[in-house]
């Protein structure tokens, strides 16, 4: 059977990987290609690059980064951040990315998912959802613009709609858990994973190997993403995988 995937995520600004502490105090953390190679050697199953450049120039640099990564890496990778049109998707996929991740742009114009899936196939289109618990709603609400803006949408129904429109995967970030390092949001991950027929990548909250075990078992996730615990070398991809293997989770 298919393995559970461990997916390190790299934030890229103007062509360099940056590390932030609670989204502020960004500092340079190196060359994306070099870091990607290290994660590949550790056994990462896939990588996600998130372009957090604010400028047009920065975005152009991202296409070059994608090309460099693609020429040196033999594992799949996804690029997200600032992808607003079919042209943007073409630019990134032609540069060598395997998948593009849509977030805010897809909420503003859900047709973008359909257009992308028709053009490149559903396997190329990842829908990223930033989700936050809403007690009144007794569910989770979709946020956009890097989590700064609430929308009226409910997470489960949005995930279902996106899959009907052609999203091949859901990258699900829990805003409640993100940065807390107390584990993934298991209830959210399970709810979305059971509602859709495509793989769900859980994100937000990874603090130790145990959290990956929980999200793969209790949370029914197909893949789990983490950034800071790998960047800060609190653990490595291989350590997490050994932990999972010992507990009977099928990993590569």
């Amino acid at each position: 059977m298919i393995t559970k995937r461990i997916v390190p995520c790299l934030d890229v600004k103007d062509g360099r990987v940056v590390k932030g502490i609670q989204f502020v105090e960004l500092r340079d953390a190196g060359d994306p290609v070099e870091l990607a190679k290290i994660y590949d050697e550790q056994g990462a199953d896939e990588l996600v690059f998130l372009d957090i450049s604010a400028s047009h120039e920065g975005r152009k640099t991202m296409a070059e980064v994608v090309q460099d990564v693609a020429s040196q890496l033999a594992i799949p990778f996804t690029v997200g951040g600032g992808i607003n049109s079919l042209e943007d998707m073409k630019r990134i996929l032609r540069a060598g990315a395997d998948k593009v991740s849509l977030n805010t742009a897809a909420v503003l114009d859900p047709e973008l998912i359909t257009i992308g899936a028709d053009y490149f196939g559903t396997q190329c289109i990842v829908l990223a959802i930033d989700a936050k618990r809403d007690e009144e709603l007794d569910s989770w609400r979709v946020y956009t613009h890097g989590g700064r803006q609430a929308t009226g949408r409910e997470v489960i129904s949005w995930a279902k709609e996106a899959v009907e429109r052609g999203a091949g995967e859901i990258l699900l970030t829990s805003m409640d858990s993100d940065g807390e390092k107390r584990g993934f949001d298991l209830a959210l991950t399970k709810a979305v994973s059971e509602a859709v027929s495509v793989p769900v990548i859980a994100s937000g909250g990874a603090g130790e190997a145990k959290h990956f075990f929980e999200v793969f078992t209790e949370g029914s996730a197909d893949a789990a993403l983490a950034a800071s615990i790998f960047h800060y070398k609190e653990t490595s991809v291989s350590e997490v995988k050994n932990y999972l293997k010992d507990r009977g989770v099928n990993v590569r």
Binding site: I2, T3, D45, A70, S71, G96, G168, P199, R252
Partner: protein, 210 residues
Amino acid sequence: MIGIVDYGMGNLFSVSKALERIGVPYIISESPEELNETKGLILPGVGSFKDAMALLKEKKLDEFLYAYVDSGRPLLGICLGMQLLFQESEENGRTQGLGLLRGRVVRIPADSGDKVKVPHMGWNQLAFHQQSPVLHRVEEGFVYFVHSYYVEGIDREALLASTVYSVEIPAVVGKNNVFGMQFHPEKSSRVGMQLLTNFAKAMEQSGAIL
């Protein structure tokens, strides 16, 4: 020199980059004349079977591929490119394939007991069925799959390796000089690189002229 067949349906970039990494020279072309100057061919492919066959026929690449295979030089189909080697597919209505190998392409059953997600996407493990130069020094390791259809009814002697995803899925196929890989070797880390290296070696040893 390997020729990558460019018929408008492939992820040519990642295949060509993988060949660069293992030091195998290549050309990318849609011209039968140019492709005929090579010692081996890769037929990539992402997308629908029907569109792919229509494009191959439109560019007269189907006839070229038959002649190429008759010349004894090796051909490797990757992902959809592997499926095209078979007799027919049920994707978007029945479409005839190249028929170089026996078997038909059908959808992965989604409802056999456990909840199985389609497409089959991610890393899955190879199990070998028989020896082949393509599998030389390759471990029964994990490779990266992305597909919704698989080959059913393959001749057992053409099945080199398989994986399991609710059903047995032919993963590496090969008969004489025609080979196919259902997964993406160019995205399959070390195992994938070894498989591509082996194909390139098989090509050098095939003894064909050019």
